[in-house]
């Protein structure tokens, strides 16, 4: 297995829906063994991108490579090495939980029965229950079991936890970490698109924020948390500061909040020069980075 080949390689992907560009010139690379986050607002183009990875949609232009292969030309090979949990999980309504898993297993060369039993027990899913009668959380859990048991090299998750209760959401992430990443974590890659970032914060190594079909920011998580800082200061009197190069400045009376993009030291010294009463520096969590990403957008424009 060629470890240098990125698991996912997207170059300048463009996909149109009617007259509207769902994805417009997106590029990203996911290396083996990473947990890659794909963040964006509703309708930013996440699902479209993912569907292009699976040849459920074809790009209008640009290239998509999974395991170095073109999903259009080597469809079966690519799909044999990955599994997919979609946004809207759908099962055949007459099948029971057990039958659905058997059906999904019939397409796979490798299926871990122990993991299956384990997860069914953990989620308390009754194998003889019809899929029609499952709640939304249970359906997602079933889809996850179906995605993990074959032990694929790539796990693609599209908005997996939206609409689920907090307990189920936590269990989901724990399961991905526990059951999926067992085996050799170096060989297990996760690609998750979500807008519920705070929960995936610990899981994500690297991420891309997509906005209106375009890539806004790509970074490693640690680096991002290191780079984006929030500085809060309080002064003894109202002070006007000309903070150039700050990402965002909120000033109200004696309070000041500054978002720094990599230049926190310079801004800090500038602020310290005015002798603040109180000064706090905080890194932005990924969720906060995402929330202020429209500020990023404006600054990039």
């Amino acid at each position: 297995m060629d470890t240098n080949v990125p698991v996912i390689g997207i170059q300048n992907l463009t996909r149109r829906y009617g007259r509207h560009d769902a994805v417009d010139g997106l590029s990203l690379t996911v290396r083996r063994g990473k947990c890659y986050g794909f963040f964006g607002r509703n309708g930013a183009g996440k699902t479209t991108t993912i569907k292009c990875l699976l040849n459920l949609l074809r790009p209008n232009s640009g290239t998509v490579r999974v395991f170095g292969l073109d999903p259009q030309k080597h469809e079966t090979t690519v799909k044999a090495r990955l599994t997919y949990v979609p946004d809207q999980v759908a099962f055949y309504p007459w099948m029971t939980v057990g039958e659905t898993l058997e059906y999904l297993a019939s397409f796979r060369a490798h299926w871990n029965r122990d993991t299956e039993a384990d997860l069914l027990r953990r989620f308390q899913l009754d194998p003889s229950k019809k899929t029609q009668g499952l709640s939304k959380g249970q359906r997602t859990q079933l889809a996850l079991i179906g995605a993990i048991c074959p032990g694929p090299e790539l796990l693609v998750l599209d908005e997996p936890t939206s609409g689920l209760d907090p307990i189920v959401r936590r269990e989901f992430i724990e399961t991905v970490i526990g059951a999926y990443q067992s085996g050799d974590p170096e060989q297990r890659t996760v690609f998750v698109s979500t807008h519920l970032i705070s929960e995936f914060e610990g899981l994500i190594d690297e991420f891309t924020i997509i906005d209106q079909g375009r890539e806004l920011l790509t970074m490693e998580s640690d680096a991002a948390r290191n780079r984006f800082k929030k500085i809060r200061a309080r002064f003894s009197q109202e002070t006007k500061l000309g903070l150039n190069g700050a990402l965002r400045v909120k000033q109200g009376g004696r309070e000041l909040e500054v978002l720094a993009d990599g230049n926190s030291d310079k801004l800090l010294s500038e602020i310290k020069a005015h002798q603040p009463e109180e000064l706090k520096v905080e890194a932005l969590s990924l969720e906060e980075i995402f929330v202020v990403s429209d500020v990023l957008k404006k600054s990039n424009a």
């Binding site: 009617g18 079966t76 999980v89 007459w94 059906y103």
Partner: protein
């Protein structure tokens, strides 16, 4: 079993099963199989289209289409499995269907040589099978490519339905112009239709076009699937309703004060209207097709040699009945599919109100489109001379009771189909499911209702459909639809409710119709009213004579002649060759005014009647070598052209092969004695009955079922005593009924019994008293 295969079978099963049942049952539902092939072709087309549409359509509705594509399995493999299964199912249905047709024809015209109808069907069977196969191919391919292209069940259904029909019709129209051109090129056209070389070329072309469409459709769908994406390319075209429904759900913007006018009825009606947008489009296309069919009809010789197409074009107006069914099926199922049904129930409008506002417009729309519109078209067609064979002179008959009755039944059929569609729609989650349920439900009702109420022949526009079934259906379906709609969420109880209601309704129909059929009220009546004092006797019996017309004459022992005409609403006038002379009214046209009359013994009329008819009879008997049979055998009208009962000169009763009597030198005349008694005095032969008078004054009846085909079987049937009296002095047949004269001069009528089915109609306990001959005027 391979799980992919298993899943595919399960997906296809409901629609395939429905179509299979439909294919088996449809041939047996007609009165006569003349239009059988056209109806079968249409049913096959419709059914296979449904199957082909649901093959991919169900995946798309269930949302599993993209997850199916996301599995690591080659699309070719998925395609092979799906198409293979579809082809297998279609072949099975096709084979079963035509086997059923063949059995039907065989059953209907069992060993009747020379019957033109049977010969026609048997000769054209191969052609019909071929045409059916062609239509099946077109249906399958149409269903596949439209589903994969449009991703919208209803739209794909309509398009697949109409594209081949439209193409064929257009091609035929164009060919009508080409025929003359081609004839000049290819050669002189002979007078034999179907053997015209120009036409042959055209028809071959047509078949080739159909085959090409079928194959091209399948190849196109294959390519579509291989390159299928998780988004419909043209789906937006047909989601007009969807967009508009969601727009309409938002409250109208009113003045800044926020006062909104309370117009729920209008909003709901508008929503219903928009929900049917797709249907409007296709009704329009259907209209165009109908017009084209009418135009095709105007050239009568164009379709000779193609019985299926001919029937299709002639009976095109019947196909409009599909429309109310489809419209009905759409009604609730589409809202449920969109997921807006629950939201609707959260509006401050009663569920019942919403239901009514949904059902009534749909019903009205269905009725107008299903019956009024095609009839209007046909009336217009007849005024330009291209009328269908179903309505020969319709514009002359517009005000006749016959037409009005037909119109009412046609409207009733459209309404009924719309109701069944609505009911099916309340049970289903999407359009395809609704259609399957509606067809299954309607078909089952028709079959069971027909069987149970004892009528084997189901005549759509005749008197065959029992009023009871209609009333029960008209109550059960709307009520069930309403309850299903109201409690739409609880699924198990829904099914239980439907099944129980149907069982109850069937039980009710069974009990009611059995009671009605067997005239249960007669239990409370006397077996038969008593006869008066005897004025006639068997020592000097009167002579009764009925004829095929409606005149009954009785020659009394004292020489007087009693005569009357029997008016009936429906006139049946079969012409029996060779017997005209015998059954001609000896008086020419009888100067009879209304009501029975007695002509005195010495009148010319009486004398000439008595002598003339007797002479005619004896001459005729000699001529036909029937001397061993008594003249009394030939007294009653004979309504059966195949067999007849005879009284031997020794009083024995015989049954003979009637048809052979027409040939004077027949070596195959066959007569079998019935029973061993030799005291029979008279016999009347009706269509499936024989009534004979015994010397002891009792009447006996033989009821032949349709299974007693041969004379041997008939001769073995045991007779049943008819009535309780034994003072009968004469029996004859008039106007398809048997009439018996009792000793007190009263005339009693015993009706025909039709037996075409498992439940034999038993003779009535009470014969109908026609009157007393001695009460006649003059």
């Amino acid at each position: 079993m391979n799980l992919l295969l298993k899943k595919e079978v399960r997906l296809l099963l409901p629609s395939a099963a429905t179509v299979l049942v439909l294919a088996i049952v449809t041939p047996w539902l007609g009165r006569s199989p003349y239009s059988l092939f056209a109806i079968i072709t249409a049913v096959l087309f419709f059914g296979l289209l449904l199957m082909a549409t649901s093959s991919f359509g169900r995946e798309i509705s269930a949302g599993t289409f993209s997850s199916m594509l996301a599995q690591p399995v080659e699309r070719r493999r998925i395609w092979r499995v799906k198409i293979g299964l579809l082809a297998l199912a279609a072949a099975l249905i096709f084979a079963v269907c035509f086997a059923s047709c063949f059995l039907r024809i065989h059953d209907y015209w069992a060993d009747v040589p020379g019957n033109t109808g049977a010969l026609y069907l048997k000769n054209n069977f191969a052609k019909a099978a071929g045409t059916g196969a062609l239509f099946a191919l077109m249906a399958l391919s149409g269903g596949l490519w439209t589903t994969l292209l449009l991703r919208h069940a209803i739209a794909s259904f309509w398009v697949a339905f109409m594209v081949p029909a439209g193409v064929i019709v257009l091609e035929l129209l164009v060919d009508a112009q080409l025929v003359s051109v081609l004839s000049a090129i290819v050669g002189e056209s002979s007078n034999m239709p179907g053997q015209d070389p120009a036409r042959t070329v055209i028809y071959c072309g047509m078949i080739a076009l159909g085959v090409a469409y079928g194959i091209a459709g399948i190849v196109f769908s294959w390519r579509l699937f291989l390159r299928a994406e998780d988004a419909a390319r043209f789906g937006d075209l047909f989601s007009l309703s969807r967009e508009r429904v969601s727009d309409d759900a938002a409250p109208a913007k009113k003045s800044s004060r926020g006062v909104r006018a309370w117009k729920p009825v209008r909003a709901l009606l508008k929503k219903e209207f928009q929900l049917h947008t797709v249907s409007f489009l296709f009704v329009g296309a259907f209209l165009i097709l109908h017009v084209l069919a009418i135009l095709l009809r105007s050239d009568e010789t164009l379709l000779n040699g193609f019985p299926v197409l001919q029937s299709l074009v002639q009976f095109f107006w019947v196909f409009w009945l599909i429309v109310p069914l489809i419209i009905g099926c759409m009604v609730v199922a589409e809202e449920r599919k969109f997921g807006v049904l629950e939201n609707q129930f959260c509006l401050p409008v009663t569920r019942f109100g919403q239901f009514i506002l949904k059902v009534l417009p749909t019903l009205a729309f269905g009725i107008i489109v299903g019956s009024v519109l095609p009839l209007a078209l046909e009336i217009a067609a007849s005024s330009i001379g291209a009328s269908s064979s179903g309505f020969s002179n319709i514009k002359n008959e517009l005000t006749s009771w016959h037409f009005i009755e037909f119109f009412i039944k046609y409207v009733g059929a459209a309404a009924g189909l719309a109701l069944v569609g609505i009911w099916g729609s309340t049970l289903a989650k999407n359009f395809l499911q609704a259609t399957s349920i509606a067809i299954a439900g309607a078909g089952a009702c028709v079959v069971i209702g027909t069987l149970i109420t004892g009528k084997y022949m189901f005549r759509l526009f005749g008197l065959g459909l029992p009023i009871l079934a209609v009333i029960v259906a008209a109550v059960v379906f709307p009520w069930l639809a309403w309850r299903n709609y109201k409690f739409f969420a609880e699924s198990e109880r829904v099914w239980r409710r439907n099944v129980l209601t149907f069982a109850g309704a069937l039980l009710f129909m069974f009990a009611g119709s059995t009671a009605f059929y067997h005239r249960a009220w007669e239990v409370f009546l006397r077996a038969e009213p008593a006869h008066g004092a005897a004025k006639l006797s068997l020592e000097n019996p009167p002579k009764l004579r009925g004829n095929i017309g409606s005149v009954l004459q009785i020659v009394l022992p004292d020489g007087r002649v009693w005569a009357d005409t029997f008016e009936e609403k429906y006139r049946h006038n079969p012409r029996v060759r060779g017997f005209d002379a015998l059954w001609q009214n000896p008086f020419g046209s009888l100067p009879v005014s209304q009501g029975p009359q007695i002509f005195p013994a010495d009148s010319d009329l009486a004398a000439s009647f008595t002598k003339k008819t007797e002479d005619i009879t004896l001459d005729w008997i000699r001529e036909k070598n029937l001397e061993r049979f008594a003249p009394a055998s030939f007294a009653g009208s004979i309504y059966n052209i195949q067999w007849q009962g005879y009284i031997g000169n020794d009083g024995s009763l015989w049954i003979g092969n009637r048809f052979d009597l027409l040939k004077t030198d027949s070596a195959e005349a066959k007569y079998l004695q019935v029973g061993t008694e030799t005291d029979w005095l008279g016999v009347v032969t009706l269509l499936q009955q024989m009534i004979a008078l015994k010397a002891d004054g009792s009447l006996w009846q033989w009821n032949f079922s349709y299974k007693d085909e041969t004379l041997e079987k008939k001769a073995r049937v045991t007779p049943a005593r008819l009535g309780i009296h034994n003072d009968w002095v004469g029996v004859t047949g008039v106007q398809f009924r048997a009439v018996a004269l009792a000793a007190d001069g009263s005339l009693w009528m015993w009706p025909q019994s039709y037996d075409h089915g498992p439940l034999m109609k038993k003779p009535r306990k009470q014969p109908k008293r026609l009157g007393n001959i001695f009460d006649a005027a003059r």
